[in-house]
Amino acid sequence: MARGPLQHLRNFSIVAHIDHGKSTLADRILEITGLVRAGDHADQMLDDMDLERERGITIKARAVCLHYPKDGVEYVLNLIDTPGHVDFTYEVSRSLAACEGAILLVDATQGVEAQTVANAYLAIEAGLDIVPVLNKVDVSTANTQRALEEMRTVLGIDPATVLWASGKTGLGVREVIDAVIARVRPPDGDPAAPLKALLFDAVYDTYRGVIIYVRLIDGELRPKMHIRLLGAKAEYEVLEVGVLRPAHEPGTRLRAGESGYVVANIKALGDVRIGDTVVEADRAEGVVALPGYREPKPMVYCGLYPTYPKDYENLRKALDTLALNDASFTYVPETSEALGFGFRCGFLGLLHMEVVQERLERDADLDLVQTAPNVTYEILRTDGATTRVEKPSDIPESNFIAEFREPIARCNLILPAEHIGALMTICQDKRGRYVRTEYLSPERVMLVYDLPLGEIVFDFYDMLKSATRGYGTLDYEIKGYEAADLVRLRMLVNAQEVDALSMVCHRDEAERRGRRILKRLRKAIPRHLFSVPLQAAIGGKIVARETIAPLRKDVLAKCYGGDITRKRKLLEKQKKGKKRMKQVGSVEIPQEAFLSVLGSDGEEEENE
């Protein structure tokens, strides 16, 4: 049983599927607890990164400390708003480890979706007290009965315990807070014991270095204390501690059960490991490290190259800066014959990749060429060695490969039951292995499949969305690597291999995919003064070919006195476009062409 003031403390996260209204509900809670005045601020105020605001999504979990008087007692609530997208699931796991409870939100207009299930299980497995809330009940199309039914079927939640709320109108939000106080247990901890704290997040601040976010299990944290990070085996002196409201508010100490930030002269994010245990340097003896978390591993890779070679150094600097604040993203220099000097970057998923690229292009004002993303493969060589391969051009010749393995994802697909046939066909086409079907309600079903991650990255997600009219959702988890009959498909432009265009696919798919990519390349590469053959090959064997016919007429019919400036500008623009292209041999390839290998669109298939 908690002692003293811990009785009045609650640590909880808000978890849900994407867009079910976590951040909006957090806004209302911030208002009710008086941290902000209604109408005083932008919507989703915890989403304060530019990209979050633009895209209307949460990317980074955000903690905030609130005061809430009730029945003559001042409660302290530590709320963490989490992201809903599958790429950022690790943010949810981190947050949950710092909490005793979680509000599980379900959008009443959508019902239970893939990340609802995934995040609910994360919370249940972490042993948290769950406060189920049906959100958006203000919307006329809300199907509350169906949503309740699904919550019961899939998650075993008794409909009688579900609160009804609207983060938009504020309806039922006070009741949600009251339920958190009533149903979530206060933290358990001993303020007098030696310090033991979970490092659950860290950010880099240009002026203050690394700021770590900690949840204290036992003991106290005060300025001037000497702390040790158990895993990193490093020691620091604490300069400042405080709470997030949501800006840093310095205090005199943090106590067992509480969460807050610590400034301690830590230089680089690389020096800290999220999930590490923080102890007092002098009282470390006998303190058992917390279990920590599995570090997120990049699963999707792509090459990023500056359009103009002179920007290479700027790109490197921008990547350095970005990595300071995003430990889940990796990059190493690489060279491509086609694209020159650049970096191979690893991401948690496609959204993560998009977000990083956008930040680079915007914040650092860089013009980039991106290669199509690929997953990491494992290759068992004939000499018995196993290697991980992060780019297709590193794949050895087939006679050196004993086994070619690809990552397999266990996928939970939630969709309207009427589309189940269509989706099963797609999964089959994508080399999926059927696991099981579960009905959430008569109209909705959860399909479980094991699918190659490479197929998910390629175009599965788009196909899922179009086959289910946008209602299908996907959550996945990497299960491991499995051998498959994979090949490296090489692309040759004007008889020269373009490394940045090669890809890995299943042997049976190679010809079809090759043909499709060449068709796109033919459209993406402008005509040259000579004809440009395009070929797709496995090893030395050509499996598909196309030709870009030469440019035969390109001259302005009329050019007189009045036209000169205009025509000059036209040619200047053409030249500028040409300069942005990448030169492979004597062929100029525009940036977009490097993404031709990516995905499918139905239209093209039909035209064939």
Binding site: A549, K553, V555, A557, Y560, I564, R568
Partner: protein, 383 residues
């Protein structure tokens, strides 16, 4: 360098052709008198020191206004400049707008050359092109011009009109040649932004041009005209020996000229400027300020050199004189563009003969793609 050329713009037409993106307007004839006064005023204010070798009155349709208006305009403009050096005075005209009276007016003011917008002799093509005349009008116009004593007649033809076959075009060219013009201009139809044709194309009401078709049309026209004794001296222009348009040669040689009228461009002393486009706005500006400049620029030496190359390489046999360009622009193309010249010479698109550089027949068809390699880098364009 003296200002050798004077251009005068008349932006009025009987109707607006659906492919036309020139500064021309139909149904605004009420503005003609004020416009003519503005032209005369602009000529007096700006052309007083000019002694042009050529004058070109273009449009629009300069022969669309009444004989009185044309008279007043030519009188005002010609009396504003020094005419002692004149060797060529061209007026653009459209079939159906020429009367013996108007031709007399033209002759009285020294017009030596009329460029007639025949476009085609096939009634169906003329309808597709939305032209206000028929083939008989063209024949009659040529007669009226010859009867009136105009020495030189040029005919404009549009090639590769939607629906036109190469054979049909050959008949068009034959009919044009039969009228005995000294000069023929052939323009492959292009779809310009903002025209009715482009809109029809986008909306699928006009068939999209087939790849390579325009080249076949262009080649056929060049062949037929060459066989009839017309030398192709510029991408789209063919002339009997000595009958080249001297005024347009001035543009292609990147000479100096003064432009009068709405939307007219000028190039004097390395400066380029343009008048306001709208005829009424132009007239109001001239009335108020004696000029109507909308924008101006002074291209940097490398850009100016590029302009000289861009225009000069259009001249089929003449091409450009690299040494002369180096002297003129202070940037030597033989150094600046050594690689590009070499590459295109080797590929058979350019031909170099000492300091003379010109396009080969293969090169002229892809001149844009060749020219792109001569565009100065942005960073040193200013230098």
């Amino acid at each position: 360098m003296p200002v050798d050329h004077l251009y005068v713009h008349v932006p009025f037409c009987a109707s607006k052709c659906p492919y036309c993106d020139f500064n021309s307007h139909a149904g605004r004839d009420g503005e003609v008198p004020a416009y003519v006064e503005a032209l005369v005023a602009e000529a007096r204010a700006r052309a007083r020191d000019v002694a042009p070798a050529t004058v070109f009155v273009g449009g629009g349709t300069p022969t669309w206004p009444s004989a009185e208006a044309i008279d007043r305009m030519l009188d005002g403009v010609m009396s504003a400049v020094t005419t002692s050096r004149l060797t060529e005075v061209t007026v653009e005209a459209n079939p159906g707008t020429l009367t013996p009276e108007k031709v007399r007016v033209l002759r009285r003011h020294g017009v030596t050359r009329v460029s007639l917008g025949a476009q085609s002799f096939d009634e169906r093509r003329l309808r597709v092109l939305g032209r206000a005349h028929d083939a008989r009008d063209t024949v009659r116009s040529v007669e009226v011009l010859r009867d009136g004593g105009v020495e030189r007649v040029s005919l404009d033809l549009i090639l590769a009109t939607p629906g036109q076959s190469v054979g049909e075009q050959r008949r068009d060219v034959a009919r044009a040649v039969a009228l005995g013009p000294e000069h023929v201009s052939t323009y492959v139809l292009t779809f310009e932004e903002g025209t009715a044709f482009t809109k029809s194309l986008e909306e699928g009401r006009l068939e999209a041009p087939i790849e390579g078709r325009d080249l076949a049309h262009l080649r056929a026209a060049c062949e037929d005209l060459a066989a009839a004794g017309y030398r192709r001296y510029e991408v789209s222009n063919h002339a009997k020996p000595g009958a080249e348009c001297r005024h347009n040669l001035g543009y292609w040689r990147n000479a100096q000229w003064l432009g009068l009228g709405a939307g007219a461009h000028s190039h004097v002393g390395g400066r380029r400027w343009k008048n306001v486009d709208d005829p009424a706005a132009y007239a109001a500006r001239v009335a108020a300020a004696g000029e109507a400049v909308a924008w101006e620029e002074q291209p940097a030496p490398r850009s100016a050199l590029f302009e000289s190359l861009m225009m000069g390489l259009r001249l089929v046999d003449e091409g450009v004189d690299l040494a002369a360009l180096a002297a003129r622009h202070g940037v030597d193309p033989r150094v600046e563009h050594r690689d590009a010249i070499e590459r295109h010479v080797v590929a058979g698109r350019l031909e170099r003969d000492g300091d003379r550089l010109r396009c080969t027949p293969a090169g002229i068809d892809v001149l844009n793609a060749v020219l792109v390699d001569f565009v100065p880098d942005e960073d040193d364009a200013r230098g």
